[in-house]
Symmetry: C2
Subunit: 402 residues, 2 copies
């Protein structure tokens, strides 16, 4: 059989990372995803890239290509009433609608949850926002970095005696997008039982709170406030980078038997001592422990530490650069990548973050050009040639020269 | 009606963060989650906490309480054949099994995917691992920090001219756990069509690759390698922290009309200039742009910048501490928290990272004590009193004094 979501129609009105990443997961699972773009296109097409680089990488940014496979593109400018009417018609036969317009915008346009539910009560209406649809911050815009800051994640990231830094990837966005996909799948299961769609929501705020949940719990338990600690953290020791003769290496031994194997594998008397044997004591004596391990690892190469500790089933890792990580034999071994072709540009991209043994995802569509499938999608949805022409004349597909 | 997953039985054999967080999402959605622990308990119960603090926070760590609501606990020591036989009997009537033992361990114990499929072909067998079940790294242990390092995420986190640091929360773990939940829901939808369960997988490696996907795409497109940039990033400018009279503030204006509103709201001639009008130019002239904005924000308070830019619908945020974030009015407004009671300890925790309007999650069970529901769960699963007693004598529930 085809994908898990074969036959499910998704209208994806979202822009930039979280919403498009969420819709892509549904597309990977086999859904028919229609990306609805403004005539100027998803902003992600032109973000983080120099203008002259665009022509060499397929006309849109690699970031756009990372999040928009398995979608077709339809152009609609919702500032025109005709476009909003067309959306209503499309929604009448769709299963899922995803958007990330600011709270209230879809309602103002007459395409809010209640408008759509009136014409298609089976539709799952999925909203992604910055801080949620209610509360004092609901009208404030945000992106990943803003909510890394707002959530306290930035405050705990960085060196102890230096200012906070950002986690170097858009993790709040991507975790939030995955949360929205999870909610949509749950709502599809719910619809299977009840016959009814519903409104589902995810947000940057809920995403970041989830990522920080165990640290908020520490604070709520008894006021314990974790601090930024460079490569280390509050959970266990050793659990950080250690210097080697030729670089550095991450060593983590959170539980006592793993620590014992670690001390044995590093073959150092000063580690194999009674006061380091319990995890409670290793946390308490962190400074002394770290100094003792540094003394040992400084005499070894990174490769030697990786070999010894890997063999001893101790958690150990190299601090890779992006090329080392992206081109790693391991990512290839787990078939972690796809290739998509945009015109003459062949782009390698990361695949889905999970595997289903009996329903493996595949690339059915490369990332689309802006509006590439406008006519085909409207025709499939029952728009007559005359209706499509009326839409074109109205400006709903964009105005020439604008 | 009850939750989306009412009637779904989950056996959760996983430890620490990713697996338990994944199972908790299923529990929040209404599944009956049985947490199966070793007699010494999930390691997370005693991780990141001083021994004398435990008694004040309910006997297990706040981290454990963050990830284990809506579960009941059964103790089984799989080193005993009797415990493995009991698992087979439990699996015969379960819908989902989650584990994060190292690749090969479950097979060695006779409870691998094929063993379980033989007795219950409808069961969804969900595996979480560090680097996946195949490939040269599959036998290497890892935790969140190790894969932050391995994936290149650590390399892009930190200040430009300083060493890499860890993103200050266990984001790879939690994103991977959510990916596993997504896969399980997809497999339940698939089972609804086909009647069959299947093996599903997620891993720290796939999680981190997903979080880094747009940066790997940059590299794969034409060799562009993003670097760590403190609070800034490669996607747009301005997009970082700026100094104010009394602290700092995050300002992000990725698209041109938002930048125009930003320049207007800060009311500074040196910002409202032609060469900053296009996003391509702002990226190219990043240093000049940042210097110009710093000059303006240094004259204002953080509160003033937040007010002006919030009003102008520019992405702006305060760099909050954990207490500020956890106790924010906004997280309360979106009902982002639950309370769970463990003995006499009332613990506030973060709720699910998404919302379903017609199936809101609720707390049915607080985080359990080790083995708290062993007898009840076995009895429900059809074990006779004599069988439970035999298990007890075998040592499968743990040996006194061990």
């Amino acid at each position: 059989m085809g994908g898990v979501l074969e036959g499910i129609k998704v209208l994806d009105l979202s822009r930039v990372f979280a919403g498009p990443a969420s819709a892509q997961i549904l597309g990977d699972l086999g859904a028919d995803v229609v990306k609805i773009e403004d005539p100027s296109g998803d902003d992600a097409r032109f973000m983080g890239i120099a203008k002259d680089r665009l022509v060499h990488v397929g006309g849109s940014s690699p970031s756009f290509h990372a999040f928009n496979r398995n979608k077709r593109s339809l152009v609609l400018d919702f500032h025109y009433d005709e476009a909003r009417q067309a959306l209503l018609k499309l929604a009448a036969t769709a299963d899922v609608l995803i958007h990330n317009f600011r709270p209230g915008v879809m309602e103002k346009w007459g395409v809010g949850p209640s408008h759509i539910a009136a014409i298609n009560p089976r539709l799952i209406y999925a909203e992604f926002s910055a801080y949620g649809s209610v509360g004092p911050m609901s009208h404030i815009g945000a992106n990943d970095s803003a909510v890394q800051a707002y959530s306290g994640l930035m405050n705990v990231t960085g060196e102890t005696d230096r200012p906070p830094v950002r986690c170097g990837s858009a993790i709040v966005d991507l975790h939030g997008g995955l949360a929205l996909s999870t909610a949509i799948l749950a709502a599809l299961l719910h619809r299977g039982k009840t016959g009814k769609g519903q409104r589902v929501e995810a947000s940057l705020l809920l995403s970041a709170a989830d990522l920080m949940s165990y640290q908020y719990a520490d604070y709520w338990a008894d006021g314990t406030v974790n601090q930024r600690m460079g490569t280390a953290n509050n959970l266990s020791a050793p659990n950080q980078a250690f210097p080697t003769r030729d670089g550095s290496v991450i060593i983590i031994a959170p539980v006592d038997d793993m620590w014992q194997r670690c001390a044995n594998a590093l073959d150092a008397k000063e580690l194999n001592i009674l006061e380091f044997k319990s995890g409670f004591d290793r946390l308490r004596l962190r400074e002394k422990l770290v100094a003792a391990i540094c003394k040992v690892t400084r005499t070894m190469t990174t490769g030697d530490v990786l070999d010894r500790l890997g063999e001893a089933r101790v958690n150990v890792a190299n601090v890779n650069t992006i090329p080392e990580a992206a081109d790693s034999e391991q990512l290839a071994a787990v078939q972690g990548t796809f290739e998509v072709t945009i015109g003459t540009h062949v782009q390698k991209v990361v695949g889905s973050p999970f595997r289903l043994a009996d329903a493996p995802p595949k690339v059915r569509h490369p990332p689309p050009q802006i509006g590439q499938h406008t006519d085909a999608i409207l025709s499939e949805a029952g728009f007559s040639a005359a209706e499509v022409e009326r839409l074109r004349i109205s400006g709903a597909f964009g105005r020439p020269g604008k």
